[in-house]
Amino acid sequence: MILYDYILSASCYKVRLMAALLGIKLDLVAVDFHPGRAHKSAAFRDLNPAGSIPVLVDGDLVLTESTAMLVYLAQIAGPQWLGEASPQSAARVQNWLAFSGRLNSSLGLARLHDMLHFPADITACRTAGHLCLRELEAHLTQVRLEGRIFLEGTAPSIADIACFPNVALAPDGGVELRDYPSVRLWQRAVRSLPQFIEMPGIHRLHDLKPAPHSGAAA
C-alpha cells in the first residue's frame, strides 16, 4: 500500500498514525509539497486531479480523502476502529469525520499560514478554529462526566484519529489549547495508545515512559 506523503501534513499524519496503530506497513512516497509544490504538478494531478495530498494507492484503489483512507485501513485491519454498530454510533463517527474537515480548514490553514506562508485570513481561521475547539471541549467534557475519554463510544475510533492531528498542532497556527482541558486530556489519551507515532510538532509522551535505568538491575 503506497501513501503519497508529506511529513508536515496533518492529513498525511492521520493516515500514518492510523496505519501504525493498526500495524499496517505503508510504503511512503515523499512528495515535495514545500517548497517544490510537487502536488500541483501535472504528473501528480494525473494521480489526483484535486492536486492534494495524501493519496493512498492499494492496487486499483486510489483514495484522495484522508477520512476515506481511515475507513479503508480500519475495514482491512481493525473494524473495531469504525465505532459501534448502532445506526446512531455509525452516523456520529461520520459526523466527526466531516468535523475533521472543519478543523483542517480552520486550525490547519492557520498553521500553514503561520509556518509555510500560505495565504489566508488568519484572524478568520483562528476564530473558526476556536469555535471548533469549543464544540469539541463541550463534547469531551460531557464524555468525561460519563466516565469515557474518546469521542465516540468506549474505545478509540477513526473519529479520534481524524480529529486529533489538527487539534494537537493548533499551537503551530497560533491557537493555544490551554483553555481546553478536556481536549488536552483527550489528546493525552490518544498519545498513550499502543504503537502511537509522533510527527514534527507532536511529541511522544516521554513522561509516561519509564525513566532510563529504572529497574535496570539486570
Binding site: D5, Y6, I7, L8, A30, V31, D32, H34, P35, G36, A38, D114, M115, L116, H117, P171, D172, G174, E198, M199, P200, G201, H203, R204, H206, K209, P212, H213
Partner: protein, 282 residues
Amino acid sequence: MIPQAVLDQWYPVAMTSLVGPWPGRETQLLGRPIMVFKTQSGAVSVQTAQGQAVAVTLAYGHVWACLGTPAQDLFALPEAAQPGRRLVDCGVVRVKCSPLRAVENFLDIAHFPFVHTDVLGAEPHTEVGRYEVQIRDDVDEVWATKVHFYQPQAAKSAAGGIVTEYMYRVAAPTAAVLYKTCPNRTNEWDVIGIFVQPLAEDLCDVYPYMALFDDVTPQADLIHFQQMIFLQDRSILENQIPRLLPLDPGMEIPTQADLTSVAYRRWLKRKGLTYGAQVVAA
C-alpha cells in the same frame, strides 16, 4: 533604534530559485519592509519600501541582503562548490521566536534525544561529552569541534545507529553551519546549515540548507528529513522564555554542554549584535 553593527551584517531574505519579477517576495528585514525581486535583466534586487536598493549577494541558493554598509564579505562555504555534493534547498519556515534563539537551538546537541527522539538521539544516550569551543578571531566566527554524539539515524542515508562527530560554526550572526560525519564517505563531512532571516526581534523565517554526499536518496526524501528535524524544534522555540536571547549571565544557567551557546552569546555581545537579544544594563 537598530545598532549600526546589526545593519551592517548580511542576512538571508529569499531562496534564489523562487524570486519572481516585481514586486517579488514582499517581506521584511530587521522590522523594515523590503521587496526581493528580479529585474528585467534577470538580476536579483532588494529594495526598501522607500525604493532604496540595498546591498545584495547571491550565495548557497539564497539571496543575502545588507541594509547598511557590509562590514565584510559574506562568509565562505567552499563545500557548496565541491563536486559531487547535492545542494538541497529545504524551503522556508516561519517561527515566532528570536532569530538568535533559532541559531542557538541549531548549535545545541543536548536536546537531540528529547526533541529528535530515535532520529538524532535516543535515551539513555543523553550525555554530551566534552568538546572544544573557540571564537576564531582570524575569521571572526564561533567554532565548536570534537563533538561526538550517538545517533540512531544520523541522516536519511544512515542505515542504523552511529556515533556521529560534529563541528559547529557560527558563520554570521544569523547563519550557522554544521559539519557531521557523512555516512557514505568516511573522509568527507556532510554540511547542513540554517540561514535565519530576522523579520523582527521575535519573528524569523528560517531556511534550512544541506550540501550532502548522497546519490541515492530522492530529493523529496531529503527535504522531508530536514523539515521533520527542523519542525520538531519549532514548537519548542516558540515556547522559550524569555522570548529574546539573554546575553548577560544570570537569566539562564548554562551547563558544560552549552559551551557553544555561551561562546555565541559572548560573541554577539562583543560585536554589539543585540537585535533579538535581551541585554541587561551593567
